[in-house]
Amino acid sequence: MSAVVAEFRRNRLSLSYVIVVALLILLVVAGGFLSDRFLTWRNFGNLFQQLVVLGMVSLGQTFVVLLGGIDLAVGSLVSASTVFIAHFLEWRPDLLWLALPLALIAATAIGALNGLLTIVLRVHPLIVTLGMSSIIFGGTLMYNKEPGGSVPRGLADFSYAKLWGIPVTAIVLVAVFALAGLWLQRSRSGRSIYFVGGDREAARLNGLPVNRIVVMAYALSGLCAGLAAIFLTARTGVGDPRIGAALTLQSITPVVVGGTILAGGRGGVLGTLLGVLLVTMLNNLLNFLNVSSYYQWVIQGLIIIIAVSIHTTRRRQ
């Protein structure tokens, strides 16, 4: 037993995961007792469908936070992408194969621009992405203030499609997370994100292409926002310039709950996935218990403080 504890001490990351997994199990058991509709196949299907968008955006946020940065432009970027996709598809529903890659490329490019600006201007990422968020939001509103556009049947069907009873979108999400996790842990470029996040100067002195890695992380965040927008447009069927606004701050909660610290260099995508599960499940259960969304806000705030306090306290020991 002590060997196990020692192993966890050495690898603090996994202890973060253990805490979150324990909370998840607690939540599922408590949910089973408190509500007879919570522990049903149907509810979990819905739940997974709900968490796809948040999961995707949080994944992108994880890359940037690992690097020691933050991306406050993701919400606006998701909104802008849904507007682009829905209006493009309303114009030419047959060009689905072109619209989606275009949206992804544009979102990735805007993400990369965020990273580039932090480097070229040497401005704090908080400020750069905040400014970009404002620019993107303003631009989207100038194009169209109201939700609009439409999507072809095929895309809408995709959002409700199921494989062996599991939503396809959820399968895609888990696959993307697995891919991201493997990339971060196993590949040279993925691991370099941790290195740069841990100590940028040391990484530079070790000959890592720091600037390229920074731009890559922000570009990935943009790509994830674009993917989230595809899921979102498929589900809602419209492009809404305000739909992503709340996602910016929401995307940070799962990241920090999952043990990725804002200072950068430590954490991982598994923690984020668990964090997304925890947050979404908790809200789902509270809905079943008829707890007003007002108290859900209070609880979300407390979760952030408690999670971060736990993670930072262990760091100091």
Partner: protein
């Protein structure tokens, strides 16, 4: 460790660069005013200027507080949520006479101070990053506020509150006078007192401050309390302006206050900044917003211009990566 070239805390005496920083902004403001005057004959008329300043005053109050927090390497995202919560608190007395105003102020300031204390405690004692601590506080206050009001606006307010927000003494808006008093008091604290020097020390180098016998934790908590109290007062002054209390009084002020402070040369990396320059930042922001409307651009244009300016201003002051 902070790099060697980190400027020493200066409350007196300025280097050439800092003169440029400070007056560069004023020159920019003057240029903006000239453009505005050239484009719209009504802009420079006293009535319009006073109006613009009246709108700017509550934001200015928030910026005074935000400056304190940014100086110690923090930031406060909970200010707007606090403004709205204080506004709701003010209506909770269900007062219809002006006798209740002092009580409302005392309650609002006490409540804000507690919020600031919790923020500061989380940041200084629990090592929670300022971003997350104040983000959590923002969400919690929002939840508490909505739970209390049930989401509906209320409008039971003493009539005198309206005077605070849009009334005038000798033609000068009351809220502008209050802002000036607030800025002078806190400006003296920051730029002329021992405590102010300690704030700059903690902001530029907490370790060195500690070795010099300053308790960084106490200084940081103090800054968060000041910030929340300023936001609370700002909330009360904004409240009377709007008349009814919606649950979103002050929405957007958290980001606007940070933008204004950064434009005013307050470095997000801490230890560098000036309250009065930050207030010039407020003026620039408000004039730009006004100018966009005067030029007949769609209001969304404000968002784009604000975004470009925030990035540009930060680049101008070279806020380095932390």
């Amino acid at each position: 460790m902070a790099p060697l070239e980190t400027p020493l805390p200066r409350s007196r005496g300025m280097s050439v660069a800092s003169v440029f920083e400070r007056y560069g902004l004023i020159v920019f403001l003057l240029a903006l005013l000239l453009v505005a005057a050239a484009l719209s004959p009504t802009f420079l008329q006293p009535a319009n200027l006073v109006n613009v300043l009246t709108i700017a005053a509550p934001l200015g109050m928030v910026v005074v507080g935000q400056t304190f927090v940014i100086l110690v390497r923090g930031l406060d995202l909970s200010v707007a949520s606090l403004m709205a919560t204080v506004a709701v608190l003010a209506t909770a007395f269900k007062a219809t006479t002006n006798d209740a105003i002092p009580l409302i102020f005392v309650a609002a300031i006490a409540f804000s101070a507690v919020v600031g204390l919790v923020n500061g405690w989380l940041v200084a004692k629990r090592n929670v990053s300022p971003f997350l601590a104040t983000l959590a506080m923002m969400i919690i206050l929002q939840g508490v506020r909505f739970a209390y009001t049930g989401g509906a606006p209320i409008s039971t307010l003493p009539p005198g509150m309206g005077f605070l927000a849009s009334g005038r003494i000798l033609g000068i808006p009351v809220n502008l006078i209050t802002l000036a008093l607030l800025a002078i008091v806190f400006g003296v604290v920051l730029h002329r007192s021992r405590l102010g020097r300690e704030i700059f020390m903690v902001g530029s180098n907490p370790k060195a401050a500690f070795l010099n016998g300053v308790a960084p934790d106490r200084v940081i908590i103090f800054c968060y309390v000041i910030c929340s109290v300023c936001a609370g007062i700002g909330g009360l002054f904004l409240l009377g302006y709007v008349g009814t209390v919606s649950n979103w009084v002050g929405q957007g002020y958290e980001l606007d206050s940070i933008v204004a402070a950064v434009m005013g040369g307050v470095a997000l990396t801490g230890g560098r900044g000036n309250i009065f320059a930050a207030l010039v930042g407020v003026a620039v922001l408000v004039v730009i917003n006004n100018l966009v409307l005067l030029l007949g651009f769609p209001i969304e244009m404000q968002l784009i211009i604000k975004g470009i300016i925030i990035i540009g201003a930060a680049a101008f002051y070279r806020t380095r990566l932390a």
